[in-house]
């Protein structure tokens, strides 16, 4: 046991660590700085399967509550002893057509997110939407979904939506609200003094209603759009370059070399799923010579940066200069050479530019990020034009959302009008401006000056609280509508359920305010598309089919055919470069970053976005990809910045020291920091443009120096029961709307206080042992055996256990051949972008409960699949540092160590070799978890599943048991989907045999086709990183992949002879050989 006492605090000997890193041959992967320091405390932590306190219940209040509950449940148990069989059966009056009771139905619809649509197939179980999958036919989704879509189902049933329609807090009905609003609109002229504030609108029907009906009837109404986490610079940049407002869409799959200017195109923006899919299609391990190359110059350590082959961190303020340098190097006429770039940056950029220039014209792509400036977008457009990419890898289309312009500016104008008393009535739809407007716009005070305020919103939030009328908005799964995707493709939104908490949407409101109030959203949508269909422009279409057929097909497919925007032919303005030069000249003097000249960058959060998902437990508990923080936001900085600021990093993690001992001064590492996921971190007070905010610090190795990233969306005051109290800090309080993404001149001081962050990065630790294997395309094309010749981590020798051989077994004669199906999974580390969609999809599919921040700090999060993130390299040299993602579900071992120790056989092999978990047998010894080398088993320490909230019962997947306290659980390979497919295959086989009048032959008649069973994680993955299928079928994709890529395929901890069914394809990157640092391996 550790000799470390509470007072003695081992600190990280940075030099020694660096030395070790330098001297080690081969690669070293590590997950946290503590691990890198590898002190005794860390080793101590490793000895524990579950961290300190995980098995105890120390909180006296909850303990008492528990005893009360126990009393209640005992009383109930006594009563239930003589109950009749139980429950009522309540059949329909008349069964709906097309519904087979017990079978789910899928409806094509779309989720609007920040205005743009993502195509979905929503699953309805007996009228309850329970899960969404991507719509393969729709351009933005292509079958994949992101975390927001997955978690939106939970949002639908959120009990906190139950506010009702109120006027001054008193219940009213819809018609009262409409009458009141109509009175306001007609009070003085045609809507004079009435202002409408909405989110981004792309819906064709809504725009038609708004512009041709509402604004026609009330022409004096002013309409403003507000979208705090969207950017207007891509369109403005294209306008600066081409003279017409247009927005770029990328043909990522056509690009051999991609250069990202602070663009996180793999995880953000309305087209990111499509871009991820296209990007990973060019990282096919079978076609390594065709592999694309990604350069990333970025101001954070984003998923795109993590996947990049070559990456260099910059401060956000430098990105314009980077673009300028690139343009200069690529000889965009009239662009001068920038000053101030460091020698390292020049070297890196020069080589990248050479690479771009050396490729075939039209086979490269430069992407500027949403947060980049208008100038940067204009430069990117000019570079793309110079490289011949326009019309090849980048296309320009008309802006998809309505009235593109500077949304921040128009919000400011609105607030000015409100302050000046010009606004008599304000109708706020959706957006939560009281929370999101920004620090330099006092929306709250201005709102006070508006005599009548209406709010149509999902939640009774910060904005609704200050409005006279609150009208519940309907969720997208509850209402009709339509929406356009990033490329303009329209999808009709179909509801799956009547509004659970009453209310209606903006379609209904406009309809009721119009001269023809009897129409509902469903009529409006149909009428709009009918008019669209009948237009002369659609002559080819409407002469070949009827509208009814067309409409039904559009509903069925989830796509209205022919609505994607045509590509525009654009030419750079003659004055474009001169304009760019003028802006470049006006940029402030170059300054070198330092702790006295810190930069701050703002980004929407991966989990709660701009705050709209702040009450969603699935998202809040999702460990964020690069930090693995849950339930919080933090100020992210590099190790060097943190060291220079003198913050104590993750000092103490011992509860008895909470608020007590605190090591200030020079940087010191608490060796146990991060144990339990309970990281005690320093908080800093940030002063930016005269406003202050206190935030905890989180160090991300690889983050650029002297720039601090903060995430929007936390610190909500009225998010709901889940997201309100102590969930992060509100960075809108220091964000200025005029410069929303970054700024220099942040002052930082230590508060001397600490904050507990729940980060899962140290959980489920598997002792290093080369779990991630990463190499380069060059190396792999030469010899792909490197994957199996890696240094054995703790073993220190080269070995090649079991590769290609029959696994050994202590049980004589045990073979692992199976008749029929043999399910397996291959996870492609090259493709995985760490987006966490699989984590949330698994949660939705498998009824996985949310445990809360406190429980996460005790290491009790329940996710069946986790994404481990490993760093590689020296944390003080961000330019060399790399990170790798590794999703980790249950490995479904053939020689499963868990099965051998279960005293009640609650986990056992099935006939097709799955490692089954039987909840009703489990008595909760936790031996299995203790014996699992992969740490994939999760235990219900407490009653995590919410049995109390009525509406939350409806979100459960009826095909999966809801687990109770004291039960172990883990990934099942979505066995419910396998078994259902089996039943269907058996029925199919029976029919076939019967039709042919012969006896059934299971082997041939009842085969599940490849692709018939998709695990939830596989279905959701935009990168196609997860392959699941039958290993016994030589033609299945998974067998093919394993056979063709045999040498890249490896299993984790092979030397333990567990013989996992889940294997990994090693990560292969394609870095520019000229930029690969010498020495330590490749990649």
């Amino acid at each position: 046991m550790s000799s470390m006492t509470q007072n003695e605090k081992p600190t990280l000997d940075l030099e020694a660590v660096m030395k070790r890193l330098e001297s080690s041959d081969g690669k070293q992967y590590w997950r946290s700085l503590e691990e890198l320091a590898a002190g005794e405390g860390f080793q101590e932590m490793l000895q524990r399967e579950f961290p300190r306190q995980a098995g105890e219940w120390t909180d006296p209040v909850t303990r008492r509550k528990f005893l009360t509950l126990m009393g209640a449940s005992l009383a109930l148990a006594g009563l239930s002893g003589c109950r009749p069989p139980g429950g009522k059966i309540v059949p329909n009056i008349s069964d709906p057509e097309g519904v087979v009771p017990g079978k789910p139905l899928f409806y094509a619809t779309a989720m609007p997110h920040a205005g743009y649509g993502m195509g979905l197939l929503a699953e309805s179980n007996q009228g309850r939407p329970t899960k969404v999958e991507g719509n393969p036919e729709q351009s933005a989704s292509q079958g994949a979904t992101d975390v927001f879509a997955q978690a939106s189902v939970l949002g639908l049933y959120d009990p906190d939506r139950e506010a009702g329609l109120t006027y001054l807090g008193q219940p009213r009905v819809w018609d009262d609200a409409v009458a009141a609003l109509r009175a306001e609109l007609t009070k003085s002229g045609k809507g004079k003094g009435v202002y409408l504030l909405t989110e981004t609108i792309t819906s064709p029907t809504l725009l038609n209603q708004l512009e041709n009906e509402f604004l026609n009837d009330y022409p004096e109404v002013q309409w403003v759009q507000h979208e705090p986490a969207a950017s207007d610079t891509p369109i403005a940049g294209a306008k600066a370059a081409f003279g017409v407002a247009c927005q770029p869409v990328y043909a990522m799959a056509q690009a051999d070399v991609i250069f990202s200017l602070d663009a996180d195109f793999l995880s953000r923006g309305p087209g990111h799923l499509r871009y991820t899919r296209d990007f990973s299609s060019r990282r096919n391990l079978e076609k390594l010579d065709k592999m694309n190359r990604l350069y990333a110059a970025e101001s954070v350590f984003s998923n795109t940066g993590i996947k990049a082959d070559n990456r260099l961190g910059f401060r956000a303020v430098e990105i314009d200069r980077v673009a300028q340098f690139l343009a200069f190097q690529l000889k965009v006429e009239g662009i001068s050479e920038p000053k101030g770039l460091s020698a390292q940056a020049r070297h890196w950029l020069t080589i990248a530019a050479e690479d771009l220039a050396s490729r075939e014209k039209g086979k490269t792509l430069v992407i500027a990020g949403d947060e980049a400036s208008t100038l940067c977008h204009a430069l990117a457009a000019l570079i793309n034009d110079k490289l011949g990419n326009a019309g090849k890898t980048v296309h320009y289309i008309d802006p998809v959302h309505a009235r593109p312009g500077d949304r921040a500016k128009s919000l400011r104008a609105l607030v000015d009008d409100m302050t000046m008393g010009k606004v008599q009535t304000l109708v706020i739809v959706g957006a939560n401006p009281v929370y999101t407007a920004g620090a330099d716009i006092d929306f709250k005070a201005a709102l006070d000056k508006v005599p009548t305020r209406f709010r149509l919103g999902l939640y009774h939030d910060e904005t609704s609280r200050l409005c006279h009328w609150h009208i519940p908005d309907s969720h997208y799964l509850e209402s009709w509508g339509d929406v356009r995707a990033f490329d303009g493709t329209a999808t009709i939104i179909q509801p799956l359920i009547a509004p659970l908490f009453g209310g209606g949407n903006l379609h209904d409101l406009f309809a009721d305010l119009s001269s023809k109030p009897s129409r509902t959203a469903v009529d409006l949508v149909k009428d709009y598309w009918k008019a669209w269909f009948s237009a002369p422009a659609r002559a080819g279409l409407n002469s070949s089919t009827t509208f009814e057929k067309f409409y039904r097909k559009s509903l069925h497919d989830g796509v209205v055919a022919g609505t994607n925007f045509p590509y525009k032919q654009v030419k750079p303005l003659a004055s474009a470069t001169a304009d760019a030069e003028r802006v470049l000249a006006s940029l402030p003097e170059w300054t070198v970053g330092s702790v006295s000249n810190l930069e701050i960058t703002f980004r929407p959060d991966e989990a709660v976005f701009d705050g709209r998902f702040a009450n969603n437990g699935w998202l809040l508990e999702m460990p964020k990809s690069s930090t693995k923080i849950t339930w919080d936001n933090a100020a992210i900085m590099s190790l060097k910045t943190a060291l220079e600021l003198g913050v104590a990093l993750m000092t103490e993690s011992r509860p008895e020291l909470e608020g007590g001992k605190y090591h200030s001064g020079a940087a010191s590492f608490g060796i146990t920091g991060g144990e339990h996921g309970r990281a005690f971190v320093d908080t800093l007070r940030f002063t930016y443009q005269g406003r202050t905010l206190v935030l905890p610090v989180w160090v991300v190795p690889g983050h650029p120096d002297y720039t601090i990233n903060v995430q929007l969306g936390y610190g909500r005051e009225r998010a709901g029961k889940v997201g309100t109290k102590d969930v992060g800090a509100d960075v809108y309080k220091i964000r200025v709307a005029s410069d929303p993404w970054s700024g220099l001149g942040v002052k930082v001081e230590r508060t001397g206080k600490q904050h507990i962050l729940a980060s899962t990065q140290a959980h489920h630790y598997m002792e290093g042992r080369n779990l991630v294997r990463s190499g380069t395309a060059e190396q792999t094309m030469k010899d792909d055996h490197w994957v199996h010749k890696v240094n054995g981590g703790g073993h220190g020798e080269e070995h090649d256990h079991g590769h290609g051989k029959t696994p050994l077994s202590i049980l004589d004669g045990k073979d692992f051949t199976y008749k029929g199906h043999k399910w397996g999974m291959v996870i492609n580390l090259t493709a995985c972008t760490g987006c966490s969609a699989c984590v949330v999809a698994c949660q939705a599919e498998n009824n996985i409960p949310v445990v809360g921040k406190l429980e996460v700090t005790r290491g009790r999060e329940m996710h069946w699949i986790r994404i481990d993130r490993y760093f590689e390299g020296n944390p003080l040299k961000p330019e060399e540092l790399k990170a790798h993602y590794q999703p980790l579900p249950c490995m479904q071992c053939e020689n499963a160590p868990c099965e051998q120790v279960c005293p009640v056989a609650a986990t056992a092999h099935s006939y097709d070799g799955l490692n089954d978990m039987v909840y009703n047998r489990c008595v909760g010894t936790r031996y299995c978890s203790n014996n699992c080398p992969y740490k994939v088993r999760r235990f219900n320490f407490l009653q995590y599943t919410d049995y109390a909230s009525v509406s939350l019962k409806m979100v459960s997947n009826p095909e999966v048991t809801v687990r109770t306290r004291g039960v172990m659980e883990k990934c099942t390979y979505c066995v419910q989907r396998i078994r259902q497919a089996e039943v269907e295959a058996e029925k199919r086989g029976k029919l076939k045999a019967e039709r042919e009048g012969r006896a059934l032959n299971r082997e041939s008649d009842c085969k599940i086709q490849d692709g018939e069973v998709l695990s939830a994680c596989q279905a959701v993955c935009p990168a196609g990183a997860i392959l699941f299928g039958d290993l016994n079928d030589p033609k299945s994709k998974i067998s093919q992949a394993r056979a063709k890529l045999e040498n890249l395929n490896y299993s984790l901890l092979d030397e333990l002879n567990t013989s996992p069914r889940t294997t990994y394809l090693a990560e292969v990157r394609n870095p520019n050989p000229k930029l690969v640092s010498s020495g330590k391996g490749a990649g």
């Binding site: 309540v90 087979v100 039943v983």
Partner: protein, 225 residues
């Protein structure tokens, strides 16, 4: 020092040890018996339904097929409890004034569902699929008993796991030809073997198991997920 324990203490000790052992065993066995009793499994229990619907009358008397009402039994895990509309298909024509049927008419009039008392209830962690059992040649009567003789439906089996496994371990003991699945009155003896002798369940079951290629599925995830 005098003896602390009298001589009979030896016997008493053995009696106590044996007694505790016996009591524990008897207690255990009693608990097992209790768990299988109709009281604990709710088998044989008839409940008062909103309408005293008689399966005996409708199935045996009138010859209505099971699937007329339980229409999703071949397609879905759930056999379906018929909607009010199904009752009204006939009862809008016959017995239209019957007092007994007033709840049905009321339901149809008001659109408020009938609320039947559930008779067969599996635990929530059990996933049973009607369609596959019907497809594989398990007759309705094999599990539900002679529903066609029941005035009020009751649960025939225990619905305990051992009751399921009884068949899953050796399905041939209960299999019947697919076209006989919905025949409540089926007897294997009614069919003939190839050699002309009447079938027994043993011969028929073995033959059908081979013909239908039926596995014995006793792994956990067959029913528990």
């Amino acid at each position: 020092m005098p003896q602390v324990f009298p001589r009979y203490a030896n016997v008493l000790t053995w009696v106590i040890i044996a007694g505790v052992f016996l009591a524990a065993n008897i207690g255990g066995v009693a608990a097992m018996i209790f768990a299988r009793s109709p009281y604990a499994t709710h088998s044989q229990l008839m409940l008062t339904q909103p309408v005293q619907f008689s399966h005996a009358h409708h199935v045996n008397g009138l010859g209505i097929d099971c699937r007329y009402c339980h229409n999703s039994v071949e397609d879905s895990n759930y056999a379906n409890i018929p909607p009010t509309k199904t009752c009204m298909n006939c009862h809008s024509q016959i017995w239209v004034g019957s007092k007994m049927l007033e709840p049905v008419r009321e339901s149809f009039r008001t659109g408020k569902s009938l609320e039947w008392e559930r008779i067969h209830r599996l635990s929530d962690f059990v996933y049973f699929d009607h369609s596959i059992h019907v497809t594989k040649g398990v007759g309705c009567a094999s599990c539900h008993g002679r529903v066609d003789h029941m005035q009020a439906v009751y649960q025939k089996g225990t619905l305990l796991m051992e009751w399921c496994l009884d068949c899953h371990r050796a399905p041939e003991r209960y299999l019947r030809p697919r076209d006989q699945v919905f025949n409540m009155d089926f007897k294997p003896e009614d069919l003939q073997q190839a050699n002309g002798k009447p079938h027994t369940q043993a011969t028929l079951g073995a033959e059908l198991r081979k013909k239908y290629d039926i596995r014995s599925l006793i792994e956990c995830s067959t029913c528990h997920r």
